[in-house]
């Protein structure tokens, strides 16, 4: 947003008449006009009202969690928070986060450099393989390690599983930043007498810092909100403790208070992430590659480099798939509960479809306003919709449970509540997709439609929405996939007796029956792969 804003201020400031227009002026001017087109109009009520509903909806869990935590007085909540056990949890959560983030930085940066900048054989294939772990839910990774090496349970297993599913969050932005750095800078450093290592450390690495920091914060957020891996590995962090406390006791205040602490942590991380993202953008604007860098020859490091890539991809992709295959093969038709599998699969598809539908519907007005209107109100709406980004699934679920028990008992442990949780959690996914899709359609088309006699509402229906439809549909497909894989909120909110693939996988793995768990993992991966495949294909 900010570069276009700057452009528009520059446009509105009157330049002296006759002043020569600098080269490239026209492009800036068009961008400015585009923002101007939206900003001059207040969002129509037909968009504003549903957008406000969506924003309030997204903020409800956050607000209610606080209310609930303080219900028995701030003193009691403070006692829970200041308890020695809470501090212990904090230490364990942060410890796990630090270890996973460090490991992800090492894996992500090394793989990015090897695949982007060196003459690594098959560099492009390695780059694609290194993004695949994003598709593996943390609990599937945990299942694989537990099933193959039960002794990893605990800190080691949790750190392993989480690192191997989340290092692409560092790898992807760092690889993009590496591609954006002008190789001429490195050549200049070499010509000034720096060796290759010193050049990397003093010229390349500092420029990768914003990208790496952004990725690291995303990993930290992932680790703090993760429930699947830590609970299966029986390593107590906030999320697992919240779940245990909720299940074990009728006193709900400890669960609520712990949730608030966790939310404070994640909100701080999201704020940090937003800040580095802004700076990363600035760092990149100067760039612009004149020509691709000449790949660094690896020489005698070729074999070690290949071994490193093989090891990472093997551990992150081949190993979970292999373990899965093994347990599928070991399992006999006796351990296969075909009825249960189909039931869970259809339940998963059903709730995920409902979740994606509601989320997309709520995201539509927010996304359009975010793309077309400026001002504090529009920004607040968008930020509210992004609340789910900072809320771990378990806290959203808990808050909705509290809310339903108190104010909407008929909904307690009913499907609508679960679908609502999905909407709160994944609204950011759908809003981002909608906003990007609307931004793709030039606003001048809306101006033309207005001048041809269409009211704002009809312009929305006949021009904006049809043009944005493919992007919105892609967002819906993405939401569908993430709903399908969701675990903690589904565990807490699913109707009694209903199981999704994720919850069955979690239950069976937790009970150590890996052969029984394997078919659920396989079905989940297959079902999630279909929309992912379609998404990937439509983008190329």
């Amino acid at each position: 947003m900010s570069p276009t804003e700057t452009a528009s201020t520059a446009e509105s400031a009157e330049r002296p008449a006759g002043a020569p227009a600098p080269a490239g002026r026209r492009r800036v001017r068009t961008a400015a006009r585009r923002v101007d087109a939206g900003s001059s109009r207040r969002p129509p009520l037909i968009l504003l009202v549903p957008a406000c509903v969506a924003a309030l909806f997204a903020l409800l869990p956050l607000g209610y969690l606080a209310v609930r935590a303080l219900e028995r007085g701030p003193g009691y909540a403070w006692d829970v928070v200041a308890d020695e056990r809470t501090l212990q949890l904090l230490g364990r959560s942060l410890g796990l986060t630090v270890v996973v983030v460090t490991a992800c930085l090492i894996l992500g940066i090394s793989l990015a450099w090897l695949t982007v900048r060196t003459a690594l054989p098959g560099a492009r294939a390695w780059a694609v393989l290194a993004t695949l772990p994003l598709a593996v839910p943390s609990y599937v990774a945990a299942f694989a390690w537990l099933a193959a090496a039960p002794e990893t349970a605990g800190f080691t297993g949790a750190a392993l599983a989480l690192t191997l599913v989340s290092f692409p969050y560092v790898h992807l932005p760092v690889a993009a930043a590496l591609r954006g750095i002008d190789p001429a800078q490195e050549e200049a450093a070499r010509s000034l007498g720096h060796g290759p290592l010193r050049t990397f450390a003093r010229v390349t690495l500092p420029q990768l810092r914003p990208a790496a920091a952004g990725g690291a914060l995303l990993v930290a957020l992932y680790v703090l909100s993760d429930f699947g891996a830590v609970s299966l590995m029986r390593y107590d962090t906030f999320t697992r403790a919240i779940h245990t406390s909720y299940r074990a006791s009728f006193d709900r205040t400890p669960a609520a208070a712990l949730s608030v602490v966790l939310v404070v942590l994640t909100v701080a991380l999201v704020a940090g992430e937003a800040r580095t993202r802004g700076r990363a953008g600035h760092a990149r604007t100067g760039g612009g590659t004149a020509r691709p860098a000449i790949p660094v020859p690896l020489g005698r490091w070729r074999i070690p480099a290949l071994a490193w890539c093989t090891a990472v991809v093997a551990a992150a992709v081949a190993f979970p798939l292999g373990t899965l295959g093994y347990w599928l093969a070991v399992g006999t038709s006796a351990t296969w509960d075909l009825g249960g599998l189909t039931e869970a699969a259809s339940a998963t598809l059903g709730v995920a479809a409902a979740g994606a539908a509601l989320t997309t519907l709520l995201a539509l007005p927010v996304g359009v306003i975010a793309a077309r209107h400026r001002g504090r109100g529009a920004r607040l709406l968008e930020q509210a919709a992004y609340a789910g980004h900072a809320l771990p699934g378990i806290t959203v679920a808990l808050s909705l449970v509290f809310f339903a028990v108190r104010y909407a008992y008929p909904l307690y442990q009913q499907l609508p509540l679960l679908v609502c949780a999905y909407a709160v959690l994944f609204l950011p996914v759908a809003v981002a997709a909608t906003r990007a899709a609307v931004l793709q359609a030039p606003p001048v088309l809306e101006d033309v439609a207005r001048s041809l006699g269409r009211s704002p509402l009809r312009v929305l229906r006949e021009v904006t929405v049809p043009l944005a439809a493919p992007g919105v549909a892609a967002g819906a497909a993405l939401t569908f996939v993430v709903c399908m894989k969701e675990l903690p909120a589904t565990l807490l909110l699913r109707p009694t007796g209903m199981d999704t693939l994720a919850t069955r996988l979690w239950t069976e793995t937790g009970a150590g029956s890996f052969a029984a768990a394997a078919p659920y993992a396989a079905a989940l991966i297959l079902l999630a792969a279909v929309p992912s495949y379609l998404l990937g294909r439509s983008r190329t």
């Binding site: 002043a19 207005r450 001048s451 006699g453």
Partner: protein
């Protein structure tokens, strides 16, 4: 008729100097007026206010006697009956050419809509292109369809926002002529925003030069070029030779370093001022021709259809540009004579 009247239009975007500062402009119905100005002069703001996408701080806009914007009045863009042709056409990419052109034809029944659509395609010389999608058209074709789409609902006024910018120069002349012919045929009043003085002079019936949010001069292309309101306008709409001059006793001539020149109009005040000539009003002669001023050629720029010869004249600080058609008989360093033809304007 659909005359356009703009009075005292003012607009500012913030605490900075206003973009429009009490701009007045009148365009008779059925004519094509060009709004010409350097970038940042406020011409795009003017266009967006007339179209209804921006609100003016003050001032009125009326078309055919109907007030579109004024004190307490701000008609929504869809109720103004103003067609717009944006830069690069901006056709709806998800609709066929036929549906693009018919987009504004809402009140008609199907048959009439189809007839009008075909009539418009015919008008812009693209009959039979209705089933194509916008991306299957060339840039010039897209621009002509954009015009057909704007003209289809018989708007009272058409606004063209630098519509020829995206076209390469070979194509530009042809599309410009087509657009002009189509506008003539429908009799629509049109406002063409451009920063290209050649385009304004060759396309429009009237040219309004905008400077710092006001109209510096609004005239026919010929009058604008021959009788610019001030030296700035003279320099903006073409090459100009500026000389210091003293008005003669009769008031119809002025004495300048290039000799005595005839004035197009008697100056109302003052005896001295800046005399504005066009380079093609100067002729090169032999150095010793009687009545000619002597000078030395410092530079020659050859363009093909003509050439620009730069001459330094004694008693003048700046050099003088002379436009020469036909074969060149002088080169740098040679002596030449200069002799002035036609009438000049004098600005106090």
């Amino acid at each position: 008729m659909n005359d356009l009247h703009i009075e005292q239009l003012t607009k500012s975007y913030g605490p900075e100097a206003p973009v429009l500062q009490g701009l007045d402009l009148s365009v008779p119905g059925g004519s094509l007026a060009a709004v010409l100005g350097p970038s940042g002069c406020g011409k795009t703001t003017l266009l967006r206010i007339v179209a209804g996408f921006l609100r003016a701080d003050a001032g009125t806009v009326t078309v055919g006697g109907r007030t579109l914007a004024g004190p307490g009045v701000h008609l929504a863009p869809e109720r103004r009956r103003i067609g717009i042709v944006p830069q690069e056409g901006a056709l709806f990419p998800h609709l066929s050419v036929a549906r693009n052109v018919a987009f504004g034809l809402t009140g008609l029944d199907r048959g009439e809509r189809r007839r009008r659509m075909e009539e418009m395609l015919d008008l812009v010389g693209l009959a039979g292109y209705g089933e194509r999608m916008p991306h299957e058209l060339s840039g010039g074709q897209q621009q002509r369809i954009a015009l057909a789409r704007a003209l289809a609902p018989r708007p009272a006024l058409v606004l063209l926002d630098e519509p020829f910018n995206a076209l390469d120069s070979a194509l530009r002349t042809g599309v410009r002529a087509d657009v002009r012919a189509a506008l003539r045929a429908t009799g629509a009043t049109a406002l063409l925003v451009t920063h290209d003085q050649q385009e304004a002079l060759s396309t429009a019936d009237l040219v309004a030069v905008v400077r710092q949010g006001q109209i510096a001069q609004c005239d026919t292309p010929q009058d604008l070029y021959r009788r610019p309101a001030d030296p700035w306008v003279a320099g903006f709409v073409g090459d100009a030779v500026l000389l210091q001059g003293t008005v003669g006793n009769s008031g119809s001539t002025a004495t300048t370093p290039l000799g005595t020149v005839a004035l197009a109009a008697r100056p109302t005040d003052g005896h001295t001022g800046t005399v504005v000539l066009r380079p093609e009003q100067l002729r090169l002669t032999d150095a010793d021709t009687a009545g000619a001023v002597r000078g030395t050629v410092t530079d020659v720029c050859f363009y093909g259809h003509d050439a620009k010869v730069t001459v330094s004249v004694q008693g003048l600080d700046a050099t003088v540009d002379v436009r020469v058609a036909g074969p060149l008989s002088v080169g740098p360093g040679e002596e030449t004579g200069i002799h002035v033809t036609g009438e000049a304007t004098l600005h106090a």
